[in-house]
Symmetry: C2
Subunit: 378 residues, 2 copies
């Protein structure tokens, strides 16, 4: 019998929280970063190698998985954990974001959204009920409600309409989820409202009244400046219940993570560490490093001697430069690994700092490291 | 002080040999298969994962490495072993084969070959002396003489001319190698002569007189039918000294390996297991499997439950099919791993069979397995 889903706050430091989520597939220490496993794989990495970076949970994309290989197929094969051989917790998004960003043709109605698959052109319908069903078929430990996600900037009326629709979809999602409740599995509601704090507050209040197991702040990292995003996070987080995890969707850079944790966020997902890794960019304690740059060609030093992951300490910058220039798959694999390890190290550092009551000092030191850069390399 | 280079024959079974090569970076059990690490990486695989397939030696391509990142650069960075973080033996080819197959413009003269780099269009000269120098800079445990490799079919006169040139280059290679002899490092001569057994015999006799540490059979797997290749191997192998390893360059399929070992070959390299793996093809004990085929879409069984490598036993065919169809990097990584593991398992099986004196039975059983196919899947 798995533990029921739960979240407990272990320590606080200002608005920053140190917590633990319990799911049917294990525990997640928060603040947590979730590597993105879009098509049932964190691109290029074996599951054990993802674990070795320190990840305790990964994200799967409902939109991609429903289209290929299909949710019913994954269910028949034992669920997403078995399919991708990832035994730890999985969170799936609802598909709403990718419907907006990836399908050229879509029709949004009260009932749901109908869109043309970017793979084979088939028309597919996604409703709040179907999104919940798909995520149950996948076996996600944490499922997300279907919402409508706008790009910013957008007009207030449009933002309000989408937020209200997302609230009605939240209610339908919750009803569908509860009709087939599985012990310990969770559904999160998603706060919408764009860059309008009044609308965000209304969304947070209504969602909180529905009593989800966790709450996401959605519709950010969609084109707005960082200060706008952080302002929304700062104003929204205190409106959410203390005893539920808070998840900032699709965010972000290491700096975004530091600032959002400071403002009370517990969970993140983002493609940056893997996508940028595939393009020769490394995240390190002394900032971002572009391995394609010729200055690395003769540099025998590893990327980051202080990183806890062997990949960051083992391979020379010259080798990573060579793999990047030669467009070798191993370059993508190693830099994705190194970046995920850095993200996890950053999260672990934040967790320890919150526990120790010195989060602001950790934040300042970390940012100073990025700004100082890699002095030896200059 | 590393052991000096040596080869000893441990057992024979007919013409098949079970042996051991000692190099400065360790021992290699023969018959041995060498994964190809063209650009200082076995494509997509971390060095430890290559080792975990059972590989004891890898091949590096002089042509690619001299152009990018450059032999002097690799030497300054500590040599190819350190650069690619592969601590076991490395064999490098001489670059001759790729000069013929990859550079559009080339001029062959007695002195050497001048060619246009496929990377930046620069004109580059490769001589027997420079090929030896490059391989010493890389730190190859086993270096190959520069030779001229023709495509087949070719006329007898052309084949004879190229073979004679290769002999003169062999002599120059040996002189260059000995002028800077490094204890324990080896240079192999390459038998040429196309599909003409008289020319092959002449080449083998002349090379043997020069006393190389090992001998390759080159200029095969270049378009000729398998029976022609095997005939040349069968006739050539007995002309080479028993106390030196014999290497069949660029070969081949699992069936090629079985047949060539039967005829007295000790070493192989080939891109097939990794290249085909990147294109959704798996080599298994029941033959080749095309994972792109829709019949695998719902198949929860692993690819090969009897393979000694976890990757072949862990992931379902449905998952490998999905990764292949979705063009996911992890599909290439897993299938390359699985294929290399199968090749190594095949070599280990041959070694054990030769030691046990039942190579022909092993060969017959292995081929019957391929022909029988995957009965459950039908």
């Amino acid at each position: 019998m798995p533990d029921p889903f739960s979240f407990r706050q272990i320590a606080v430091d200002g608005a920053a929280r140190r917590g633990e989520i319990v799911t049917p597939h294990g525990r997640v220490q928060t603040p947590a970063f979730m590597p993105v496993g879009t098509q049932a794989t964190v691109k290029g990495l074996m599951p054990n190698d993802v674990r070795a970076t320190g990840a305790e949970i990964v994200l799967g994309n409902t939109y991609h998985l429903m289209l290929r290989p299909g949710a019913e197929r994954i269910a028949a094969l034992g669920g997403l954990h078995a399919f991708m051989h990832w035994p730890l917790p999985i969170l799936t998004d609802s598909g709403g974001f990718q419907v907006m960003s990836l399908s050229a043709l879509r029709r949004l109605e009260e009932h749901g959204v109908t869109f043309r698959s970017h793979l084979d052109g088939a028309m597919v319908e996604l409703t709040p009920e179907r999104a919940v069903e798909i995520q149950a078929l996948l076996g996600a430990d944490i499922a997300m409600q279907l919402d409508e996600c706008l790009r910013l900037p957008a007009g207030r009326e449009e933002i309000s309409r989408a937020m209200q629709l997302s609230l009605r979809w939240a209610e339908r999602s919750k009803r569908a989820f509860e009709s087939k409740a599985r012990e310990g599995y969770a559904l999160f509601g998603i706060v919408q409202g764009g860059d309008d704090i009044t609308l965000r507050a209304e969304s947070a209040r209504e969602l909180t009244g529905m009593d989800f197991q966790g709450y996401a702040v959605g519709g950010l990292a969609v084109g707005e400046p960082q200060d706008v995003m952080l302002k929304i996070v700062k104003e929204t987080a205190p409106l959410l219940p203390q005893d539920r995890p808070r998840y900032l969707m699709g965010v972000g850079t290491p700096h975004d993570l530091l600032e959002a944790v400071k403002r009370g966020i517990d969970m993140f997902d983002c493609v940056l560490p893997t996508r940028n890794g595939r393009h020769g960019m490394a995240f390190t304690r002394y900032g971002a490093v572009n391995l394609a740059n010729a200055r690395h060609a003769n540099d025998a030093r590893p990327l980051d001697e202080q990183n806890s992951h062997p990949a960051a300490r083992t391979y020379s910058r010259a080798y990573l430069h060579h793999l990047t220039k030669a467009n070798e798959m191993l370059g993508a694999v190693l830099l994705s690994t190194i970046n995920l390890a850095y993200y996890q190290e950053l999260m672990a550092g934040m967790r320890a700092a919150i526990e120790g009551g010195h989060f602001d000092a950790f934040r300042a030191e970390t940012m100073a490291g990025w700004e100082r850069g890699d002095i030896q390399a200059l």
